[in-house]
């Protein structure tokens, strides 16, 4: 393999990787807060809200992400009457699908984190005179995020790999360019390069989360 050939395929692949990174960042930044809001909704004392949220989480976790993406990209526009208004840009539609799906997973992770916190923490806060908001923001949430960190790390690595699903809704990302080069040049080298780029991204992420775990170890 010549250096020239390598250069000719690496450029579009890095361009595709940019799309992958962009999707990853948008989804992480929006689905984590949304997931936490869902956690609170599940725990709400207003039962209909709790039930609706649980159904939402069940549907999102119980059906393939690919199906959800196809539905948002191609299904929504086919709905009678309102369908015309639901034609979204492919990338926007994909972001939406990923955010809605990942928020459901994060909601379950955070719920687990909250369950792991001893009720003594709430009692100590109450006796010291902290109000509900102070207890939540100063005592419960920091502990919840710490407990959830390994699971959030795991989910984030999965998200990097799931970005390859953009391929199915024809948003050009890393895998798309690799596949194009493989078909055009009849060589499997682009697949290896794609694999290495994914590995580099997940490695960076793993290192980042390991650092976060150490930073918030509290001992």
């Amino acid at each position: 393999m010549s250096v020239d050939y390598f250069n000719s395929i690496i450029k579009p692949m890095l361009l595709g990787a940019q799309m992958t990174v962009l999707l990853f960042l948008i989804v992480i930044v929006l689905s984590i807060p949304l997931g936490f809001i869902l956690t609170l909704a599940v725990r709400s004392r207003f039962k209909p809200l709790s039930w609706l949220t649980q159904i939402y989480i069940y549907v999102m976790r119980g059906t393939p992400l690919l199906l959800q993406l196809l539905f948002i990209c191609f299904g929504l526009p086919m709905i009678p009457v309102i369908g015309d208004y639901l034609v979204l840009d492919r990338f926007v539609a994909a972001c939406l699908g990923f955010i809605l799906n990942y928020a459901a997973y994060f909601a379950e992770i955070f719920r687990g984190g909250l369950l792991a916190i001893d009720k003594g923490q709430y009692e100590a806060s109450q006796v010291l005179g902290l109000n509900k908001w102070q207890t939540m923001t100063r005592i419960i949430l920091p502990q919840m995020f710490r407990i959830a960190l390994p699971a959030v790390a795991n989910e984030s690595v999965t998200l990097v790999k799931d970005t390859a699903l953009l391929y199915a809704v024809a948003v050009p990302e890393l895998l798309h360019y690799a596949q194009t080069a493989v078909n055009r040049d009849f060589t499997i080298v682009p697949f290896f390069i794609a694999g290495i780029i994914y590995l580099i991204m997940t490695l960076l992420l793993t290192v980042l989360f390991k650092w976060l775990e150490r930073r918030f170890k509290f001992d």
């Binding site: 003594g120 009692e123 100590a124 010291l128 005179g129 902290l130 509290f218």
Partner: protein, 248 residues
Amino acid sequence: MVLIEVSNLKKSYGKLDVLKQITFDVNKNDVIAVIGPSGSGKSTMLRSLVHLEEIDGGSICISGDYLVKDGIYSKPQEIKRITSKMGMVFQHFNLFPHLTVKENLELAPRLVKKELNAEIERRSTELLKKIGLSDRASAYPAKLSGGQKQRVAIARALMMNPEILLFDEPTSALDPELTGEVLQVMKQLAEEHMTMIVVTHEMGFAKEVANRVIFMDNGEIIESGLPTEIFTNPKFERTKAFLNRSLK
């Protein structure tokens, strides 16, 4: 001067009456040991004083203000004001694991009382010295022994300058060799005339430090009196039987 007046306290879980007509007073500077078998309602009684448990009937009056009168609770902000006169030390310490010892002490004065930093730091330094943990100010609770954790929990409660300190089995979760250091701090507080109610299985502490002992069984106060009376000359069979079992 009467600080706490409890009368006819009642609480039940379904058909089970965990507190039946509990009545007692606590005077300023009292150190009261509450003893009795497990499940006798000691902890529930103590926790109801700081509104960690809701009672179903009776009254609790804390230095002249009713927390609950004839089963009817005061308004939430009143409850908060009244319970803030009391500090509580738990069996399992309940320190905040994500905060250092110093931060555990200073969080509530800062957030709740909104005191000046200089004053808060002066007090936390002083209290850490008092419990002998000045050198552990920046340690996280995970790095402390059980006895150290409980001493920090006592200091944390004292940071709020409570009029009354409640202890819910403060040494029950500790290894036997670590109970001494915690009891020592409590004894020192008693000598400084802190008003305390201590639910405990430490008969030695009850005998030596308390000025009054309340014996509870099955949701009732069976008898109360001076430690010498209760321990050497109990009036009731149930008290005798319990003391025989625990002093063996």
